[in-house]
Amino acid sequence: MNKKIKPYNIVIVGTGGQGLITLLQVLAEAAMAEGHDFKTSELHGLSQRGGSVEVHVRLGAKVHSPIVPLAKADLIFALEAQEALRAIKFSHPKSIFLINKQIIPIPLQKALTGEEIMNHVKKTSKAAKLVPAFEICKEKLGKGVTSGIYLISLAVSRGFLPLSPEAVLGAMKKVMPEKYLALNIKTFDLAKTYEEK
């Protein structure tokens, strides 16, 4: 098969209200600015009320299905650490798997620790990383809500994504409402300085 036509597959998991559809829109606009073909898939309705949410973005020369097949994700973002478990089925040994260290408790269920989560994730994806995006954003910017953009910026600045930082920044300006834009741009810049401990 021609390597060029293989799409680049992104899965984002999290919980309702974490802004997954906005992140999807940012990636889609950036993909368009860079001249990629792409398709995305999202779910609306009751699943948004704090339940688990999963969106898919696929880009490349030609993309057919909007849904990433099993074990075919090149890049996975988990905006909540426990939700990473749901995305394991999309991962393969070389997937880049960025997990926000934030834990949002599930009613009536004991929360898993970061270590427990990583033990599961690393069985299929050696390169998985637990990133304290929520803590860093909260500490440096006063709010943790932009941790999704933090993870995307991290992926872009490390060259994991076939999208340029300029394209992503341009997409953010197009997609995000004026009043949230400044905080998101600050987050975007902040992530570039991230150093693993």
Partner: protein, 551 residues
């Protein structure tokens, strides 16, 4: 300027499938749009609600889908180009109005857009397949697979409706409605003012009564013969050739995308016939496709309707090809590339295994929750304090308050369709006399609860009905409903006036924040020999105060 109204023909934009249907309708020159919100079809209404004034299009959120359909029928009879949109269950409500409309035919071209939800991501009651209605109504039906087709098929549907004078059904599914991709805009001619139609009397067309109605049926059968011929020649049914190997695939809807990807994944080249017009089925096109084949795989989500058509087409020409469908594909749940790849590999005699995770992963039980601050918390908490839960049957209905069924509430003993909390409550009351409290939201009460309430009065049963009036249709994205005026809707209907008018004697409007009064009233009303109603009124936390003030 809203991108969806852009006049820049040739411009590339990102659209959601549903918005591409809206854009297609705008490019076709739509003049009248009526809908009732329901996931996965809601964005059609949200978009037109936002742009209708600017686009000079008549738009309404109707009180239910039957009324949306009837509004559309009226507008079409008056000559306007009309779009009616709803989710799958909506068509159950509207079918009474659709069937005669297909007989009378349209005056203004009309498209009915319906979105199904395989896997029931946001659909509580059944995994309904709208294509069954294509047969019942004999309505020409198109199935787009991606966002670009959403726009193109919508325009084509209007053209077919104009040419053959019948309404046309456009059937989407969740993965089409909520898919995004870049598409190229066409020309849109914005009306300078709202277009006024004219109803020209013509009983021969608009009155369905025997004996004329049987002539109408004959006329419809004739139209569908012509439409079938049209589809046999139409590019909407794509024949994608490949070197002969004896095997081929027939597919419709979003499953086409999975077939293309599965073939690429397996590095296989097989001929594919993509059916865009599900009804009337382009039989000759299928016969031509299968003529030289030994094995055919029919790929479609849910019921094997397409497979039946293909089998019939094969029989007629004594074609010996073996036809596989649900032997290799599930009838429950949506398809995806992985599932389709397994079936395609079988067809090609290839070995293929899906990647699977070998180790055990903990199951997260993160279910949707009422939002923090939602007034329903107070309603459910009050009910729990007022009665012994074990002694009371709790009826649920369609809305955010379905979450009463889960933790920590557990206040839902039955759940069926819109309005049924009251209708079924009446039956249970009549049959048992057990204590019963049913929950219904403001939007659902207007949609289908009112006739059910009248039935409890008229046929004498005594459930306690709690109407959760949060001043919006919250679950589908906060659309306005008759209890609240919207941004360009001036009048509203008070639920208490309706209940009183239906003959309800025990009636109270209570803000659930007033827990003492709420609990006291529940205890008092649940013992009444007649039906009683509590309107628990407190706005959804997402309702802006300015929407409220207008009331």
């Amino acid at each position: 300027m809203e991108e969806i109204l852009s006049n820049q023909s040739g411009k590339k934009v990102i659209l959601l499938g549903n918005d591409a249907v809206a854009r297609g309708a705008l490019e076709a020159g739509v003049q009248f749009v009526a809908t009732y919100p329901g996931t996965p079809a809601s964005e059609i209404g949200n978009t037109f609600y936002r742009i209708a004034q600017k686009a000079k299009v008549h738009f309404e959120f109707s009180t239910n889908e039957k009324l949306a359909m009837e509004a559309g029928v009226g507008a079409s009879f008056a000559g306007l180009k009309t779009l009616v949109a709803m989710k799958n269950f909506g068509l159950n409500v509207a079918i009474e109005a659709l069937l005669p409309f297909v007989y009378t035919g349209v005056k203004g071209p009309t498209v009915v857009m319906v979105s199904d939800d395989p896997s029931c991501y946001s659909s509580a009651q059944t995994e309904e397949n709208t294509r069954a209605f294509s047969y019942l109504a004999r309505i020409p039906t198109l199935e787009p697979a991606d966002v670009a087709e959403c726009k193109e098929f919508t325009k084509l549907a209007f053209e077919i409706s104009e040419k053959f004078k019948v309404p046309v059904l456009l059937r989407l599914t969740t993965r089409v409605s909520h898919q995004k991709m870049p598409i190229v805009l066409g020309q849109v001619t914005t009306n300078t003012s709202l277009v006024k139609g004219k109803f020209v009397k013509d009983a021969r067309q608009f009155v369905t009564m025997p004996p004329r109605v049987l002539e109408m049926k004959e006329e419809l059968l004739q139209k569908n013969k012509e439409i079938r011929k049209f589809f046999e020649k139409s590019k909407i049914n794509k024949f994608e050739k490949a070197a002969p190997s004896g095997a081929g695939i027939i597919v419709s809807g979003v499953a086409y995308l999975y077939v293309r990807e599965a073939l690429a994944q397996l590095n296989l080249a097989l001929p594919v016939l993509k059916i865009g017009s599900f009804y009337p089925f382009p039989k000759q096109t299928a016969q031509k496709f299968i003529k030289t084949l030994k094995k055919v795989l029919v790929v479609e989500e849910l019921d094997p309707y397409l497979a039946k058509e293909v089998k019939e087409a094969a029989q007629e020409t004594k074609c010996k090809a073996r036809i596989f469908s649900k032997e290799w594909l599930p009838e429950t749940g949506e398809l995806n590339t992985d599932i389709v790849a397994l079936a395609v590999a079988k067809l090609a005699g290839r070995r293929y295994q899906l990647p699977s995770i070998k180790h055990q992963i903990p199951d997260l039980k993160r279910r949707p929750q009422l939002c923090p601050g939602c007034p329903y918390w107070l309603v459910f908490a009050g009910v729990k304090k007022a009665v012994n839960e074990k002694e009371v049957v709790f009826g649920g209905d369609i809305g955010c308050y379905m979450l009463a069924g889960g933790a920590p509430h557990f206040l839902q003993d039955y759940l069926s369709c819109m309005g049924s909390s009251i209708g079924i409550a009446h039956g249970i009351k009549k049959a048992t006399g057990q204590k019963l409290i049913s929950f219904i939201g403001d939007g659902t009460f207007f949609h289908a609860g009112i006739p059910a309430l009248i039935n409890t009065v008229y046929n004498g049963s005594n459930p306690l009905i709690i109407i959760l009036d949060n001043r919006t249709t919250a679950m589908t994205g906060h659309q306005p409903n008759p209890s609240v005026p919207g941004s360009n809707i001036s009048s509203s209907v008070a639920i208490e006036d309706v209940a009183r008018g239906c003959g309800v004697k025990h009636l109270k409007v209570i803000d659930p924040v007033m827990q003492d009064e709420f609990i006291k009233t529940i205890r008092e009303f649940i013992t009444k020999p007649e039906v009683s109603v509590i309107i628990a009124r407190r706005p959804c936390i997402f309702v802006k105060p300015k929407d409220e003030q207008k009331n």
